[in-house]
Symmetry: C2
Subunit: 356 residues, 2 copies
DNA sequence: TTGAAAGCGCTACCAG
DNA sequence: CTGGTAGCGCTTTCAA
């Protein structure tokens, strides 16, 4: 492994000059800079990571903690890991994986031994145990996701509540008066932080707009075809003319297939909007309007906050909620014929039932 | 961050004694050892990672390179990453993620700057570009998967060929004379290293045993329900009375559903064996015999080889193929009635058709 | 069984 | 604009 003194010798300068040329922390004459860069290239020099850490107290490594529970949706998770890694590399950072059985052990360790400059927290649970730990350590920590108690933390996420509200508003504007939400498997409402946010915003906005709102999940522990089908039919029975989907790609496909089988046309008979999907809903059998969850958006922001945490303008603690965007794919249509007013009672209007 | 001299002071010994007590590289009297451990605990000492790297030239970090192509099957991939991380932590190693757009860049970098002690290569392609690089760098590199040209490399993998052969043999022993292989999406046969190994061993063993063998994939770029269904019916049309499955969990479910819909009973009418699955085939609607791919097996071995590479008994280059194991779940039955010998010609016997 | 001290390769301060 | 050099915190000889 070639070291800095060899580069210095090859370029005919001192090692401090090489160091400064590489870090850009002080002006170097174009001539010497060129000679140094030349030497670096021909010798294939790359500064020793350990020495750098020790001397500079910057490791150029971020830890990424991910509990990897059994019910984690692998594709989405992978998209976040990838997006984080790419964003980090853009700023010359590497990612150290912390998949500890006991998430706290890994975080404490890297916080204590100075292996990483900051910690990024993925797959945040409502009552995440990493929250208390983050407050205790001095290593800057950024949450990608919002725990119940986010006091004093720096958190980044899609504004799921606004996304759900946006979906409901669009459908309401199109004249729909009865909506159905096809949600995640039951377990996600306890273990993850965002499904509940979607659900309550869905219900609250529907209530505000005076719409009927029904809710159903796509399984117990994981997405199941039969549970999804059952939910679709129950939501239809409840009178839904529009669906909000907050579920896996497979569940999207099942919902669309189920509607097609019943001869229901999208958007002719039923309108559909997807919320928080991180795959391309335009590529489904029936393209579906989407208010997507964009991993790159959250992860880029998280990385830039992590980097800022190391400098002077440390970011204020608080939530950074990314505003939702609406992608049209033609799956929402206005309701033209007046809705047949059945013998609806007041209590029906605000009904919201869990279907499992 | 508390440092070694503080521990030494607290324990009333020299810093070298602390260092040796922690590394166990020389005998320490029980009394001093106790005092040191005590001090370490109360002070919460953890040796500075950078200093350790610099002085000891051991980083306690392994790089894990994973190209993360679009067609990567996320759940399987995640299982391997997790298994690697867990195995590494057991030996006090952390995992640095290398998801570079350009895999080679990351590997060269960590090899040049000494950030990692060894590199683990995941998701190996037949003509993987990381192969040439691995030969060029001095950082020990372990492949989890087998590239076409594995000369001089240390590779670990399930013996997919033996697994496929075992499946065919079991079915042949049960009296089946016509087998169908439900494989991966087409693209995997070019981009991945193991699907071709399964397919060719399947065909070769069938030929050796004098069986008919037909082959079909589960999609073009990714697993699709319709493609899988079509393959099932084409294999049945080809006369298959037994299926070997080498596909995703979803595809397994589709195959079983398709058989059930046709009133075909498993194992009464059709026998089924799964090869290379890393999920629980016993938990499917119809439990299926399995010759599983166990991520832990490959990853544990890979990690132990990586560690050995750092010591004196460096492992010889070469393939370490893990022998397959057979898990019964009752999905294979003997064929009792003699097979009706249709007007089979010689060319039919060895027919093998790709169904897409 | 224990200590003292020489580096590991780099960053960043102090000089010039 | 450029050099010299003192550490960074640890591991590991060399001595006792």
């Amino acid at each position: 492994m070639v070291k800095i003194n060899e580069v210095a010798a090859a370029a005919g300068v001192s090692i401090s000059t090489v160091s400064y040329a590489l870090s850009g922390k002080r002006p170097i004459s174009p001539a010497t800079r060129r000679r140094i860069e030349e030497a670096v290239r021909t010798l294939g020099y790359s500064p020793n990571a350990g020495a750098r850490m020790l001397a500079g107290s910057r490791t150029q490594i971020f830890a990424l903690t991910e509990p990897l529970r059994r019910d984690t949706h692998a594709p989405t998770h992978m998209a976040f890991v990838l997006a984080t890694a790419v964003a980090a590399r853009r700023s010359d950072y590497d990612i150290l994986l912390l998949t500890d059985e006991d998430a706290k052990a890994g975080m404490s360790r890297v916080a204590a031994n100075g292996l990483v400059d900051a910690i990024l927290v993925l797959d945040v649970a409502p009552d995440d145990e990493r929250v208390v730990l983050a407050r205790a350590i001095s290593t800057p920590t950024i949450f990608i996701g919002v725990p119940d108690d986010s006091d004093g933390l720096v958190c980044v996420d899609l504004d799921f509540a606004a996304a759900a509200a946006l979906a409901v508003d669009r459908l309401a504007d199109a004249g729909h008066t009865s909506l159905g939400l096809v949600g995640q498997p039951d377990v996600s409402y306890a273990k993850s932080n965002f499904p509940p946010r979607v659900r309550s915003a869905f219900e609250a906005t529907a209530e505000r707009r005076g719409l009927q709102a029904a809710f159903g999940t796509t399984g117990t522990k994981r997405t199941s075809r039969t549970a999804t089908r059952r939910t679709v039919s129950q939501l239809l029975d409840a009178g839904a003319t529009a669906f909000v989907l907050h579920c896996t790609e497979e569940a999207h496909a099942v919902v669309l297939a189920e509607l097609a089988e019943r001869g229901l046309n999208v958007p002719g008979d039923v309108s559909v909007v997807s919320v928080g999907a991180s795959f391309d809903t335009g590529a489904l059998a029936t393209p579906v309007d989407s208010i997507p969850l964009v991993p790159e958006a959250s992860c880029d922001l998280a990385v830039s906050l992590a980097i800022r945490s190391l400098g002077d303008d440390r970011p204020e603690p608080g939530l950074r909620l990314i505003p939702p965007t609406y992608e049209s794919h033609g799956s929402v249509a206005s309701v033209h014929r007046a809705p047949e007013p059945g013998p609806a009672t007041d209590s029906d209007i605000h009904r919201e039932e869990a279907v499992h």
